[in-house]
């Protein structure tokens, strides 16, 4: 099956079995290394990507679902100003993230502060439900996310 889609801003054409999971396609065909296919049940968060701008676990998306859609992985997101807000927040707070949870946390934080300029604790807590990890202490994580929101607001001039 031939599938056209946009990956990190570039139009690409894929020939794949329709029932292959997006996580494997991204890793095997496009050498996307930020994500891993760890749990295949949508709970660990290690394969998070943006699908049409919204975070989804790419293990629950099939090749057939991405036709004419936009996919952004952490690799692509790294080149944006939005990423720098979050990176800044994480650095300032001194968060040391384990590599595998990075895509989930960064993309979920982006999605949150995109929707809520000044997210509440409960909303932040909510995004943690999309990841499964023993890494990351909550005090630094909360601080990092509030800082990221602050950087985003400052950049947007509000």
């Amino acid at each position: 099956m031939i599938i056209d889609f946009v990956l990190n801003g570039k139009k690409v054409r894929l020939n794949s079995k329709p029932e292959r999971r997006l996580v494997d396609i991204l890793r095997d065909r496009y050498s996307i290394s930020s994500i891993t296919g760890d749990c295949y049940r949508g709970s660990c968060g290690n394969c998070m990507v943006l699908l049409q701008g919204r975070p989804v676990p790419s293990c629950l998306v099939l090749a057939a679902n991405i036709r004419n859609k936009e996919i952004m992985t952490l690799e692509g997101f790294r080149n944006t100003d939005e990423y720098r807000d979050i990176e800044g927040g994480f650095e300032e707070a001194g968060v040391k993230l384990c590599e595998p949870v990075k895509p989930a946390l960064i993309l979920l934080v982006h999605d949150l502060i995109q929707r809520e300029e000044n997210p509440e604790q409960s909303e932040i807590r909510n995004i943690f439900r999309s990841i499964e990890t023993r890494c990351g202490g909550e005090s630094t994580l909360f601080r990092a996310i509030h800082l990221a929101a602050y950087f985003r607001r400052s950049r947007n001039g509000s």
């Binding site: 290394s33 295949y40 384990c98 590599e99 439900r129 990890t133 023993r134 890494c135 990351g136």
Partner: protein, 687 residues
């Protein structure tokens, strides 16, 4: 592991290995038949191993691939190697394993074949006399469940054969153990093996030997096929078949005087090590010492043993057993205080620092160091007032009522973290570091201790001692070909052993650098201080090279209808040497608290059967921020220069405080973890 980088580098030449596993929990392997394989593919079995088919930790072994005896479901018995993942999984499905099953044994509580050399005994005091002083006896069984490590990444290894030599990349806390294992399995000289280690950025006492097995598999496949081989478990495979925190079960009898003092204790402990006990000596001793705990007791009889069952190895976890042991002694202590109708805080204090004439064994005397943390945590959490108030409410309530109500409880617990191996085991380990200064005054540090977290501390220590800039300090990349063996980076040895050795090197360079021409190279090895003596049977001396102390309070609320548990507050007070990076330390303690709470009420792992997919479905971690903010603070312990390992303290102090709190809230007694609302319902229904 950067799998994609390997794929990019080796393209179609990169081979992948899949582990072929035993379908039965116990039995005999008759044959493995791969059918016809695609060209170039190969099934490797025990018969192909050129060296010894074993992985050794101290004096214990397990086979690298099962030959005929199958000891747990999922036990590796072959490696299927090929270069196309899809073809490989199809070929793996086709493999036919002929095994004769036998009746498996899953529970350690029933007596069974104990590994003799691991039996452990502590005995002191006049048992008969002390028993006579007692007016009541508290007898109970308390056990602790297994726990999954849930490493940031599942186990993986990459191996590359270069003629007569082999290079292996993996995550491990003990690079030289990987090296010796690979050499032994391939039947080659250790000089022919080089290991490159990756840092996973978290404390992982569990990966102390399990990475060596995966590395040996990858190395074996690369050695026999001549191809670069990548072996990577998926999360489910890692969950089902790699080692877990060892479950423990203890039978306790505590004799109490009329005033509520412990006069004597009899403890019998079994630790379920799964199919292969490795590291069992250290583990068992730590469990037993934890079960002795910090409450003074004039006479003690303790027996402990390791029991094997037909489950995957149950083994090292943060602290190698201290948390299991302390859970047992703290929960039991809480119950003893309750039985003697005393305020748990007062009871605890009187047992930690007994007001008596006769000589108290040093093990208990050292524990007095926990008192400042205890007092401080009680203060901060307003423990005494809350405890009294909840106790009053509890007495008024007959059982959980028929109206919607919240009941509250608060629990208190103390604990320690013994840094470094217990006495004699440290002697068996290599522990060497090397530091050199070049002509430009740049310093290069070589150690196999993996700790990104400590590197900046060591850098600063070097810069301060030698009056150079931290930018001039470098670390040699952690490969066994370039760094000396500093032993396993577990049990906070990086702090106790490595830090001390580095300090000695820096001091030596400082002395010599202006007297001798540069470059200078210094190598130092650790020797046990002579005063360090410990005899467990007579309970004399002190087991740990160094200890840190902690006390916790946990406050809970239980919905009397749904039995839903809410944590209202957590306080942790630590007395453990100097604090170098407070924010980072707090963050890592919070990680520990989350895992400890997961073990206490969230993570469900059955232990009475072979692992299956249902276990994997049910097992979930507690998400970050599922509990309220935690109050953590550090006390000066007067020793301004020592830094100590404290990361285990949440594991050792939070679960018992939690269990005691839920007991107060519900009036129910627990004999195990996790305490889920489901478990509360069962207990209530049967009470």
């Amino acid at each position: 592991m950067d799998e994609i980088a390997y794929r990019k580098q080796y393209k179609k030449k990169l081979f992948t290995a899949v582990t072929v596993r035993s379908p039965v929990a116990r039995g005999r392997l008759r044959s493995i038949d791969s059918g016809s394989l695609p060209t170039g593919y190969r099934l490797i079995t025990a018969a192909d191993i050129p060296g010894k088919n074993r992985l050794t930790v101290f004096q214990s072994h397990m086979p690298v691939l099962a030959k005929d005896i199958l000891s747990y479901r999922g036990m590796p018995l072959g490696l299927l190697v090929g270069n196309d993942e899809e073809e490989l999984s199809t070929a793996a499905e086709r493999i036919h394993i002929d095994a004769v099953p036998a009746e498996p044994r899953f529970l350690a509580a029933t007596p069974g074949p104990a590994t003799k050399e691991s039996d452990y005994r502590i005995s002191y005091g006049d048992m008969d006399f002390q028993k006579q002083q007692a007016v009541q006896v508290l007898e109970e069984r308390i056990s602790t469940p297994p726990q999954e490590h849930y490493y940031p990444e599942p186990h993986s290894a990459f191996a590359l054969r270069k003629g007569r030599e082999i290079e292996v990349h993996t995550y491990s806390r003990w690079p030289y153990h990987v090296k010796t294992t690979v050499a032994e399995v391939l039947g080659i000289n250790p000089e022919q093996v080089s290991i490159q280690i990756k840092d996973e950025q978290t404390v992982l006492d569990g990966k102390v030997w399990s990475s060596s097995l995966v590395a040996a598999h990858a190395a074996l496949a690369a050695w026999l096929t001549g191809k670069p081989v990548l072996l990577r478990y998926n999360r489910q495979e890692d969950f089902l078949y790699t080692s877990k925190r060892a479950p423990v079960s203890a039978q306790l009898r505590t004799h109490l005087s009329a005033e509520g003092y412990i006069t004597a204790r009899e403890i019998d402990i079994s630790c379920d090590a799964g199919a292969f006990p490795l590291f069992e000596e250290e583990m068992l001793e730590r469990i037993c010492l934890g079960a002795v705990g910090q409450h003074y007791c004039p006479a003690m009889n303790l027996t402990g043993r390791i029991v094997t069952t037909n489950k995957p190895p149950m083994n090292a976890f943060e602290g190698l057993g201290t948390s299991q042991g302390l859970f047992i002694s703290e929960v039991h202590g809480g119950r003893a205080a309750y039985m003697s109708e005393q305020d748990p805080y007062e009871w605890k204090k009187r047992h930690i620092k007994p007001d008596i004439e006769e000589e108290v064994p040093r093990f208990y005397r050292e524990a007095e160091a926990v008192l400042p943390a205890l007092e401080s945590v009680v203060d901060r959490s307003d423990y005494r007032r809350k405890h009294a108030a909840y106790e009053m409410r509890r007495k008024r309530r007959s059982s959980l009522s028929k109206t919607i109500d919240m009941s509250r409880g608060i629990g208190l617990s103390t604990g320690y973290q013994g840094n470094g191996f217990i006495g004699r085991k440290e002697v068996k380990l290599s522990k060497t570091v090397r530091v050199s200064m070049d002509t430009a005054g740049n310093l290069s540090i070589s150690t196999s201790s993996i700790s990104e977290a400590l590197q900046s501390y060591w850098k600063e220590m070097a810069a301060r001692t030698l009056d150079i800039s931290p930018e001039q300090v470098h670390f040699t990349s952690p490969a066994t070909s370039t760094v000396p063996d500093t032993g396993p980076s577990i049990l906070a040895r990086n702090l106790t052993v490595t830090s001390r050795l580095l300090k000695q090197c820096f001091d030596a360079i400082k002395k010599r650098r202006f007297r001798e021409a540069l470059p200078i190279e210094i190598q130092r090895s650790y020797r046990l201080p002579p005063k360090h003596a410990w005899n467990h049977e007579s309970f004399e001396g002190y087991p740990f090279p160094q200890s840190a102390w902690g006390a916790s309070v946990v406050e809970v609320e239980v919905d009397s209808i749904s039995f839903e548990l809410t944590i209202r507050g957590i306080w942790l007070m630590i007395s453990g040497g100097v604090v170098i990076n407070r924010r980072r330390l707090v963050s890592s303690l919070e990680e520990g608290i989350r895992s400890a709470l997961g073990w206490s009420y969230h993570e469900i792992l059955s232990r009475g059967k072979a692992p299956d997919e249902g276990d994997w479905h049910r097992y979930h971690l507690l998400p970050p921020a599922a509990t309220p903010p935690v109050y953590i603070d550090f006390l000066e312990d007067g020793n301004r220069s020592t830094i100590k390992g404290i990361s285990q303290l949440p594991y050792s102090t939070i679960p018992p405080a939690f269990a005691v709190a839920v007991s107060q809230a519900t009036g129910l007694d627990f004999d195990s973890l996790p305490i889920t609302s489901e478990r509360l319902k069962e207990l209530e229904e049967s009470s």
